[in-house]
Structures are given as structure tokens and as C-alpha cells.
Symmetry: C2
Subunit: 189 residues, 2 copies
């Protein structure tokens, strides 16, 4: 359960056993069944969630009831609405489970305790956000400048594990295209 989180932290900061024991005391384990929500729109995102097992999607529902998928999440990824989490404002996003999930979660109070007790974790979270920001910038430019077929090719080469675990209509939503366009693109490969 904890090994994946430890390895993830170790990529950016080195923690002593004592420091990781502090981490363990401040996170909690939780399981969600497929289709359960980790976050629902209108709620404040009280928890940052690290996926140990399973697959999630983060999406917005527009005024016409259409879903727009911002992000998928799998093992070794963080999910949550960072902005809602840090500003304690209502989220526009839903996060639900595409598969049964096992996660580790920390709330804001405990994260502040963690920053105080293990200050280098502030650095870890800065790097994590920075990487997420970089991915978001990539995605903005891709969405604006590349045709759908190329975006699909990028998606499957970057996230081959996700393509196999997620229904086609959700991949289409992530790419911002109609499901029929996705079928056409696949056939013409």
C-alpha cells in the first residue's frame, strides 16, 4: 500500500524512515468501488488523493449536461482539484472511479502539519504541481494546434495503459471530439 507513495516521493525528495513514518501517520487509506465519487462538483475538495490501484476520471459537466474529461488517473498519480483544495472553494469538477480504487489521502490540515514537520515536502508538492502545470500547457497547445488524429496518436503513445482501461466514448471526451470521429480516426490508422 505505502511502497508506491514512498517511491513516488523518493523521485524528488529523500525521506528518512522517521520522516516517512510521519507521512504514514498523516495520510489515510481508503477504497472506492467502481462508479463511486471521490469528489462531486459544488463540494470543496478536502483531500488530495494518491492512486495506489485503479483508474479515475476528472470531468466537468456543462450546462447542456455534456461531460468534458480533463484528466484520467491511474496508479502512481495524484488526483484532486488543487485549486479547490488550497483555496477551499467549491469545485467545478467531478472525480469518479472507472475501476475499483485503492487510494491514500491527506487533508489540508494534515498537509500543513506535514509541511511543518517535514519542510522538504513543500518542495515535493511544488514539483508535482509544476509537472501538472507543464502537462496542462502542452495540452492547451495540442488542442489548439493539432488535428484530432494527431492528438489521438499522442494520447496512445503517451498513455498506452489508459487507452486499454477506459471506454471509447470517454477517450473521445478527453480528446474533445465526437465518439464517431474517434472510430473514424482508428479505422484510418
Amino acid at each position: 500500500m505505502w511502497e508506491l507513495l514512498h517511491t513516488n516521493f523518493s523521485r524528488h525528495v529523500s525521506l528518512t524512515d522517521h520522516e516517512f513514518a510521519i507521512v504514514q501517520s498523516l495520510f489515510r487509506e481508503r477504497k472506492y468501488r467502481k462508479k463511486q465519487y471521490i469528489l462531486q462538483e459544488g463540494e470543496i475538495n478536502r483531500l488530495e488523493t494518491f492512486i495506489v490501484k485503479g483508474c479515475t476520471r476528472t470531468y466537468e459537466v456543462d450546462n447542456n449536461g455534456q461531460e468534458h474529461i480533463l484528466q484520467f488517473g491511474i496508479e502512481d498519480w495524484w488526483v484532486g482539484d488543487l485549486y479547490s483544495f488550497f483555496t477551499e472553494t467549491a469545485s467545478r469538477f467531478n472525480i469518479d472511479c472507472i475501476e475499483d480504487c485503492e487510494v491514500l489521502q491527506i487533508n489540508k490540515e494534515n498537509l500543513e502539519v506535514l509541511y511543518k514537520m517535514v519542510p522538504k515536502m513543500e518542495r515535493y508538492f511544488r514539483i508535482m504541481i509544476q509537472n501538472a502545470f507543464n502537462a496542462a500547457q502542452h495540452r492547451i497547445l495540442h488542442t489548439m494546434s493539432k488535428p484530432a488524429a494527431e492528438r489521438y496518436k499522442d494520447f496512445i503513445s503517451k498513455y498506452p495503459q489508459i487507452e486499454q482501461r477506459v471506454p471509447d466514448h470517454q477517450i473521445a471526451s478527453f480528446l474533445g471530439i465526437a465518439p464517431q470521429s474517434l472510430s473514424r480516426i482508428r479505422k484510418s490508422k
Copy 2:
């Protein structure tokens, strides 16, 4: 010159005079003329840049030579390629000046010194990146889910100061539409 930066910091962290003197010793002042580059693609982004006066644009040039604008920058904003800065890898972006600019800049070595001497600045930069990330997520969903006319309306209500300072074809590029489409949208308002 320094007041704007001080006010900006003060929104998130409170600094003593001594701490702000450390900031001042680690930043440098610089002026750029209109059309000069702050960053060119292929270079490592060695400096984080805070705009005191002027207007910039951050953009990518695709294989067909077309420019795609990711971001404009004006007074009180940070510009730079954060990912290139922190990972010391070549940037895909260009940042140039739409107007004459006065900026304050810090390099990575000095930023590390700043984090050591004034640890709460790590928090400031985390919050700054977090807000940038949130804006990027908004933009992804907007680009995917909203028609161009609505995106234009959002842009001018959010950034009225920018619309007046930036040429039309650059606003079109930022919105990911053709300049002709922008004229059409404006006429139909």
C-alpha cells in the same frame, strides 16, 4: 520598481524588511525593448521574470511556421517556462515583448538561495504555480467545450487591459481561431 513585487508577495506571504532586502539582493532589474526576446525556443529558461511594466507574449511556433500563443503577460504577472526553468531542459516556447518592458528576474541558483534563506518563499512559488495550473485547466476545458464567440467574451471580460494592448491577430492566435473569425465575432456582438 520593487513595490509591485513586494505587494505581489504580500498577497501570499508576509515578509520582514530584512527578508525583502534578501529578495532584492537576489533579483536583478532589466529592460527589454519592444520585439526583444526574453526567451527563445531551444534555450534553457534560466530566469523567472516578473513584469513591472510592459506586455509580453509566450508562444510556440509549429512545424508549418504558425504561431500559437499560450499566454500574454502584463504588469504584476510572472512569465517564463517553468518546466524548462526547473528541469533545465530546452524550452519549446518563445517569449517576446509586445511593448517596451521593465522586469525583475531571478535565476535558479539565486532562487535556491532564497528558498534556503527565506523558506516561506517556497510556499509563495507553490501558490503561484498552483494558480497558473488552475488557469491552464480552465483554459483546456474552455477550448474544448465552448464556441469561439464565448471564449472571446470570456477573454475580454477577464483581461480587458490586454485586449487594448495586443494586436488582433495575436488575440485570434491566443483563442485558437483565424483572424477573420475574430472580426466576425466582434461584428456580431
